[in-house]
């Protein structure tokens, strides 16, 4: 439908300078100073990428929330009540309380990993969203950082949603639990960055299954999410502590159960190291893939 103000294409003129005029046109200066185009400081341009993903997420809010929220909550309830009956208490802690903190951590991991793989790959290879961004004044660094920041945000959102449910079920000790949120954001960042490394090498969606089967699932089972790490022989425990998720659990579980986590800086340093190294590798290989 044409609006009342419709101008026929043949009469449309983009800029006033295209009107017929007897005057010679002044020569457009070659050196141009950005006027309406803000030259944002380079380390903040990733926000454009982050915000683009947020805008899309807001359009599909309901299914997004159900996906991030529904499945972990089901696990929590089913395992917690079903399994919890058999297990009873772990030391002083009811199994349900133990499990809730574990699932909050693993949910940040899963959500960020999915976002950094399936969703990011779709934007890279299927929808060519990144290629459009590269035609604009954004760089591969901006895009990768923006995507990882977005994966971290989604990881945090899903973990926070379960935290709300856990609080409602009386599984959270006190308000110190809020301190878990920045740790979960960092966890999301780390798993988002590692997922982007996988994305950088993927030829199709099928490739992600390797990463889930060979890395994410073993990590989930070894990191003290469902049962205490101390159950395992020492070498397995060492292996678990070489991976980031166990460190997230070590910090988040005490915060949710009202005790003080130990060696916080060490745990955070391991998580952050995976994140930073993952981001650097992802950036390098995605650049190699797109800028060629």
């Amino acid at each position: 439908m044409k609006s009342d103000g419709f101008v026929h294409p043949s009469t449309f003129i983009l800029q006033p300078s295209s009107l017929p005029t007897k005057q010679p046109k002044p020569h457009k200066p070659i050196i141009h100073t950005p006027n309406d185009a803000t030259s944002m400081s380079p380390n903040l341009r990733f926000i454009h990428v982050w915000r683009r993903n947020l805008k899309v997420w807001r359009k599909i809010l309901i299914p997004s929330i159900l996906g991030n929220f529904g499945e972990p909550v089901l696990y929590l309830l089913a395992f917690g009540y079903g399994f919890g009956m058999l297990v009873g208490d772990l030391g002083e802690m009811p199994y349900m309380v133990f499990l809730a903190s574990g699932i909050i951590c693993s949910s940040a991991m899963f959500t960020a990993s999915f976002e950094g793989m399936y969703s990011a790959y779709t934007r890279m290879d299927v929808q060519h969203t990144w290629s459009a961004m590269l035609g604009a004044p954004l760089t591969v660094e901006d895009i990768v950082l923006g995507e990882v920041a977005w994966a971290a945000t989604k990881g945090l959102m899903s973990a926070a949603a379960i935290l709300v449910v856990a609080t409602a079920l009386g599984l959270v000790a006190n308000a110190w639990a809020l301190l878990a949120l920045p740790v979960l954001l960092l966890t999301g960042f780390t798993f988002g960055a590692c997922a982007m490394v996988v994305t950088a090498f993927s030829k199709s969606y099928d490739f992600f299954l390797y990463y889930f089967t060979l890395v994410i699932t073993p990590m989930l089972l070894l990191s003290g999410v469902f049962f205490p790490l101390e159950q395992f022989p020492a070498p397995v425990q060492v292996l678990a502590y070489l991976l980031p998720l166990a460190h997230t659990v070590e910090v988040v579980r005490p915060l949710l159960t009202g005790t003080i986590p130990e060696q916080v800086l060490l745990h955070l340093a391991v998580i952050a190291a995976y994140g930073v190294v993952g981001l650097m590798i992802a950036t390098r290989f995605i650049r190699k893939r797109l800028i060629r």
């Binding site: 439908m1 044409k2 609006s3 103000g5 419709f6 101008v7 294409p9 043949s10 449309f12 003129i13 983009l14 800029q15 300078s17 295209s18 007897k22 010679p24 046109k25 020569h27 457009k28 070659i30 050196i31 141009h32 950005p34 309406d36 185009a37 803000t38 030259s39 944002m40 341009r45 454009h48 915000r51 683009r52 805008k55 899309v56 359009k59 929808q127 060519h128 969203t129 290629s131 459009a132 961004m133 590269l134 035609g135 604009a136 004044p137 954004l138 760089t139 797109l290 800028i291 060629r292």
Partner: protein, 354 residues
């Protein structure tokens, strides 16, 4: 009388009358008047030393796995012109464009775009460039308007000025009334127009278009051409790749024919036709033509023959002796003026390219 059209209309910016129009060379051709370009026009095709070029490439080279895709390419694009990159598939057109945008690092050579060294300051250059990519990169998660606004955000554009710009561009792309539809429901032509509008969001000094009308129907192509001419008249510089000869002939002030990564010819369409091809072309096709040619023996003096598939092209300065013999043989033929396609076939060879 054919108007004299300088090959580079930006040489004298005070003379406003000589803008080459779409129809002029064709008009002349249809009326059987062969354009004759005086020598000074050929001289004018040289870049003026007083106006810095918008794009300068010197010795630009790109290799993939030892295969040279762009081979010591030299180019300069002047402010305000429409510059065409013409070439068979795989000639290096898209690679050249990607290098200009800093998306492909050259292996050798120097490249300056809008005064910025590329790829070192490609991001800064892209702040002032509009890009129409060969393949659709519109955001399928957004509506028409959201596509423009989101793309603008990549340039750091927002606020009232942007709102006004978006309205202007919706008008420009004739997408009024479709602002809020998802882009999946747009036709190919509408998507292309939206992509062009999106490329203009930052009021670019230079717009780079990679095969902008490939796959469009004639109406949609004419609409895009119309818009591109609007841009040219508002002093925007265009670089366009195409393998449509008529597109190049209609739009481009100058064009470079690229083959195997090298510039094999570079000038205005008219000057290229003039320099490379005899003015008269006679086209024959089919079995009867081949037989006639066999029986004919020698062609009239000064006639050059080329075959493209089953088509026989005869190029000549004076067509009369040839036409007499053809008429005597009562053969079907097409007598036409030389055009850009003849130049293209001559300088890039007649083999099928993939």
């Amino acid at each position: 009388m054919v108007a004299v059209v300088p090959a580079n209309r930006r040489i004298d910016t005070t003379d406003f009358t000589f803008r080459p129009t779409l129809h002029r060379p064709r008009y002349a051709a249809y009326h059987g008047v062969m354009p004759h370009t005086p020598d000074h026009v050929m001289l004018a095709a040289q870049p003026s030393p007083t106006i810095p070029s918008l794009v300068t490439a010197r010795g630009l080279t790109k290799r993939y796995d030892g295969r040279t895709v762009v081979d010591h390419l030299d180019l300069s694009v002047e402010p305000g012109e429409c510059f065409g990159l013409l070439g068979p598939n795989g000639a290096g057109k898209t690679t050249t464009l990607r290098m200009m945008l800093g998306l492909t690092p050259p292996d050798e050579g120097e490249l300056t775009v809008l005064g910025e060294p590329i790829p070192a300051r490609a991001r800064e250059a892209r702040q002032r460039i509009g890009v129409v990519p060969q393949f659709d990169t519109l955001d399928p998660d957004f509506t028409v308007r959201e596509n423009l606004i989101t793309y603008a955000s990549y340039f750091g554009l927002k606020g009232q000025a942007l709102t006004a710009r978006v309205e202007e561009l919706l008008e420009f792309a004739s997408l009024r009334g479709r602002e809020d539809v998802p882009i999946q429901s747009l036709s190919g032509g509408m998507k292309r127009r939206l992509t062009l509008a999106r490329a203009l969001i930052n009021k670019p000094d230079l717009v780079v278009l990679d095969e902008p009308t490939t796959g469009l129907d004639p109406q949609a192509r004419h609409h895009i051409w119309h818009r591109l001419r609007d841009l040219l008249s508002s002093d925007t510089t265009l670089i366009i790749t195409t393998h449509y000869m008529e597109e190049a002939e209609r739009l481009c002030d100058r064009l470079a024919i690229i083959d195997q990564g090298r510039v094999v010819a570079c000038d205005s369409p008219r000057a290229l036709i003039q320099a490379h091809i005899e003015p008269h072309v006679v086209e024959l096709s089919g079995h009867a033509a081949a037989l006639w040619l066999d029986k004919l023996g020698d062609l009239p003096a000064g006639t050059r023959l080329h075959r493209v598939g089953d088509i026989i092209l005869l190029y000549t300065q004076d067509p009369r002796p040839l036409l007499e013999r053809l008429d005597a043989g009562s053969l079907r033929y097409l007598h036409r003026p030389a055009n850009l396609e003849d130049v293209f076939l001559k300088v890039t060879g007649h083999d099928l390219r993939d």
